[in-house]
């Protein structure tokens, strides 16, 4: 039984086109294609992108299913235009063995809405002391290539060195959550003018930058690939720019919320704005935007972090760190990078699809929209406004900082392997 | 707006009240005048200086703010507190003469009696007002009245003193919002 779709009147690399999908493949792209029995959708005014790939998501299963499951996270991802997500390892139990990563992989398969690529922990229990069974996870059904203790920093330089060296055997990459723990004990928000006035313990930029600096030098020394998670500071950007200019094999990501929100929001003491790494200053936001435009920061990654309501409805210092991100990512990038002229849609496709797929070694993802490519397609109407409503998100949790905001850009439809996984109004 | 008491008539009324107080209390020695701010305090000062001129010696006088004892605090945003100054001999065993500019519902005086009662036990409490405009809501009456002015509920009686308002005058205006 053949499944056929005809996506009509979308911008593909700046050219008004139709896209024909048959089963799992894109079979034609061009103007005014013939329908030939396909289900037709007219998306006049929209832009088509290759299916988005998120290199940093927290799906919370196993262990915190009250906040999110692989299924609900997949639904949120599909709504956001994603066709692949990488599930971070800080679950309970931690994904530090073949068994857990295979479990997550299979849950993703059975949900069937996106490709879920489990990320394996670097160290056992993400405690930062002993290497996890990296080989076993790489060779498992989940075929893990990205390893991260995210949530925690691999703070011990010797452990980080060994990890960087070891994953070379598996063509893996270590994705570091850069946070020097001794400088950030009990830290609550960015250390700066605002924190001094609010009486909340500061999380200084140098706690992130000192780890980035150390690790880019380490990676170069042992000739390994390094990926820096959620870069948030101007100083961090400058270090990465320097490393790349010397040809170091470093990649970096930025979250949508760090491209828009600043630490001024903490003045309300509303922990919806509490996140790790924290929201920084306007100057940092501008530096991150420029870096993403330049390609010094390679990709956008959501760091989608669902949390149960009671952990956000309390005093700031008791609240959990983290924000939802999957469903709002593309509209926020539209708002902060496309509408400001910093990126065009081809570059968005690179930052949100091809580059992340390349870093994660996800072969079936990240291809440009060309005939013969797997039918992973995201359609967004960039001028349509959307009032974000936390009670109508697909995620099980409600902790989006954008609730009540009107943002430009509505994901009209998502196709995963030729199947329609999301459609506005459906 | 109608003129009820021009300046000369106001002065005469205040002089008469001053004499009446002295007559009733057989002189100024046992009297303590307490004016209720704002305008009652000015009136009390006038009466005090009249009495001092007549008797040739100082009379005990001060002010008694009643804001904290009002029964209608919750109806309006919080009111400023005015000064309470009790003269040197206190109120214990004294003949206290409360002084206010206008007697209307009587609630201000009720509050003044409560406030006074917490300061001490006077021998007697008497009341002097420049204008009694009727419409009592409590069983309160004045001992000394400058002028009885029949008014309707929605009219406003305005008492002005030179020290405060630049002119001495009592007038009646048709009320809008208070």
């Amino acid at each position: 039984m053949t499944s056929k779709y005809l996506i009509k009147n979308v911008q593909v690399s700046g050219v008004l086109s139709d896209i024909a999908i048959e089963n799992e493949t894109i079979t034609a792209i061009g103007a005014s294609l013939k329908s030939d029995g396909a289900t037709e959708f007219d998306f006049t005014g929209s832009v088509a992108l290759p299916g988005l790939v998120d290199l940093h998501t927290h799906l919370r299963e196993p262990g915190k299913e009250d906040a999110e499951t692989v299924l609900s996270g997949s639904q949120a991802a599909a709504r956001g235009g994603f066709t692949a997500v990488s599930a971070m390892a800080n679950t309970s139990p931690v994904a530090d063995t073949a068994g857990v990563v295979e479990q997550v992989y299979r849950l993703g398969q059975s949900a069937g809405l996106v490709d879920v690529f489990p990320i394996g922990a670097v160290t056992q229990g993400i405690h930062g002391e002993h290497l996890a069974e990296i080989g076993a996870m790489a060779d498992s059904a989940a075929r893990v290539r990205v390893f991260s203790d995210d949530g925690n920093c691999v703070f011990d330089p010797l452990v980080m060195r060994r990890a960087l060296e070891y994953v070379k055997k598996f063509d893996g990459v270590i994705a570091q959550h850069a946070q020097e723990p001794r400088l950030t004990q009990a830290s609550q928000m960015n250390e700066g003018f605002v924190s001094s006035q609010l009486g909340l313990k500061g999380w200084p930029a140098i706690a992130e930058e000192s780890i980035i600096a150390r690790d880019v030098l380490l990676a170069e020394h042992v000739q390994a690939r390094l990926h820096i998670c959620h870069v948030t500071t101007r100083g961090g950007v400058e270090i990465i720019r320097w490393a790349k200019s010397r040809g170091f094999n470093v990649t970096a990501e930025v979250t949508p919320h760090h491209l828009l929100l600043t630490d001024e929001l903490a003045r309300s003491y509303d922990p919806i704005y509490k996140v790790n790494p924290p929201l920084r200053t306007e100057s940092d936001v501008m530096a991150l935007r420029e870096a993403l435009a330049e390609g010094v920061i390679d990709i956008v990654a959501t760091d989608h972090a669902p949390h149960a309501a009671e952990t956000k409805e309390c005093e700031w210092q008791e609240a959990s760190f983290g924000m939802l991100g999957l469903e709002t990512a593309l509209p926020i990038i539209n708002m902060t990078m496309v509408q400001t002229g910093l990126l065009d849609w081809n570059q968005v496709a690179d930052r949100m699809s091809s580059a992340p797929a390349r870093i994660g070694r996800y072969e079936k993802h990240g291809s440009n929209l060309v005939v013969g490519a797997p039918a992973h397609v995201t359609v967004i109407n960039p001028t349509q406004l959307w009032r974000v409503d936390r009670d109508r998100m697909a995620s099980r949790s409600r902790n989006t900082p954008f609730h009540g905001m009107e943002i430009p850009g509505v994901v009209q439809a998502t196709f995963f392997n030729g199947r329609l996984t999301h459609k506005v109004g459906a | 707006m109608s003129l009820a008491l021009p300046a000369p008539d106001m002065a005469r009324a205040i002089t008469r009240i001053s004499h009446e107080i002295l007559e009733r209390n057989s002189g100024s020695e046992s009297i303590t005048l307490l004016g209720i701010p704002t305008r009652g305090a000015h009136l009390a000062a006038r009466i005090a200086s009249n009495i001092e001129a007549i008797e040739g010696r100082a009379v005990q006088h001060g002010t008694l703010d009643i804001t904290l004892h009002r029964d209608d605090l919750r109806l309006r945003p919080p009111r400023a507190l005015m000064p309470t100054v009790i003269p040197s001999l206190g109120v214990e065993g004294r003949n206290v003469v409360l002084v206010d500019d206008v007697l209307f519902s009587g609630r201000t005086i009720r509050a003044a009696l409560d406030a006074l009662g917490e300061i001490g036990r006077s021998q007697t409490v008497q009341l002097a007002v420049l204008v009694d405009r009727g419409h009592r809501e409590l069983p309160i009456r004045a001992d000394y009245v400058g002028k009885n002015l029949p008014t309707s509920q929605n009219q406003v009686v305005r008492v002005q003193f030179t020290e405060l308002d630049g002119i001495d005058l009592v007038s009646i205006e048709d009320g809008a919002a208070q």
Binding site: Q197, L200, Y269, C314, W316 | H69, P78, I119, G120
Partner: protein, 316 residues
């Protein structure tokens, strides 16, 4: 003014209004009128999720002098210490009919969360939230300074005040910096560099690491309590070094301006940040601060609870 959450939220004229109201209430309290009927029938809850005897008693005395009913909800043994959330506690208080909640909490921003979330409808008074603010302390400090040094003036223009000690962790310092400068005073912070927050450049103060250079130039010295736990976190090497450089001892006391006063929010570490001689000297107004605390807190309760909350009220 519906709540009193932080000095940052109130205007200069609102602050002066509180001080003037406190002046009248102090006079009433000095005289025979110890108890006033003004808040009769109102229920005020002391929600003290962090230990504090002096502030709680001060607010309780203030409330009772205005004839309000006071209910004490303190940390130990209460459901707050057993892990009941702030939200649930607030909803319980609402159900109990609290007209006002005076909250002291170890989390910065706790008072703001209570007020903004509308879990309850009464007035919220911040009695100290984490290291953020302690508005009533700053107001009683300003009241005390005004009485001694202002010579009839309404504000603190022309005065120079030093705040000495652990500024980083001090809510008293934060509230005082905001209020004293709002009232026109000049403020100098004296502290070891480790105990000043990053971002201090954005505060309207001058900063000095040298107590001796500042002591003879100021009209009031406000000593902050130093907590001994700070030594284990390496903010300074030991108590001896701290006292030597930042303690108010007799030598420094002697060098103060003729009419200058010594203040401390309490509780004091006698011998650490302040010697016994300094605390007990004729310049010390520390005991008076406590008395003034009751009048100032009475003024706060009066202005928040006596009238309606609509409209401007008495702000000018």
């Amino acid at each position: 003014m519906k709540h009193l959450l932080s000095i940052a939220d109130i205007t200069k004229s609102q602050a002066i209004n509180i001080l003037n109201t406190a002046e009248e209430l102090a006079r009433a309290s000095d005289g025979p009128m110890k108890k006033l009927p003004t808040l009769r029938g109102r229920t005020i809850v002391n929600l003290f999720a962090e230990d504090s005897t002096r502030t709680r008693i001060s607010f309780e005395a203030a409330a009772k002098r205005l004839s309000a009913d006071v209910i004490n909800f303190s940390a130990k043994g209460s459901s707050v210490s057993k892990g009941e959330s702030l939200k649930d506690t607030a909803q319980t208080l609402q159900a109990m009919g609290a007209d006002a909640v005076i909250i002291r909490h170890s989390a910065s921003g706790a008072a703001a969360r209570l007020a903004e979330n509308q879990w309850m409808s009464g007035a919220v008074i911040n009695a100290g939230d984490g290291t953020h603010e302690h508005p009533s302390q700053a107001l009683l400090d300003a009241f005390t300074i005004r009485r001694h040094l202002s010579h009839g003036g309404e504000d603190l223009a022309g005065l120079h005040i030093a705040i000495v000690g652990d500024v980083l962790h001090s809510r008293v310092a934060r509230s005082n910096v905001l209020l004293l400068t709002k009232l026109g005073a000049k403020v100098t912070l004296v502290s070891p560099p480790t105990l000043l927050p990053v971002g201090i450049e954005s505060w309207p103060v001058t900063v000095s690491y040298d107590f001796d250079a500042v002591i003879d130039k100021v009209d009031a010295v406000m000593m902050l309590r130093i907590q001994l736990e700070r030594m284990s976190e390496m903010f300074f090497p030991n108590a001896r070094e701290y006292s030597r450089y930042f303690g108010l001892n007799t030598d420094r006391l002697r060098r103060m301006k003729l009419a200058a006063i010594v203040m401390h929010p309490g509780p004091m570490n006698r011998g650490l940040e302040i010697t016994a001689d300094s605390a007990d000297s004729a310049r010390s107004v520390i005991v008076e601060q406590v008395t003034n605390g009751v009048s100032v807190r009475m003024a706060i309760l009066y202005l928040l609870l006596a009238g309606t909350t609509e409209g401007e009220g008495v702000t000018s």
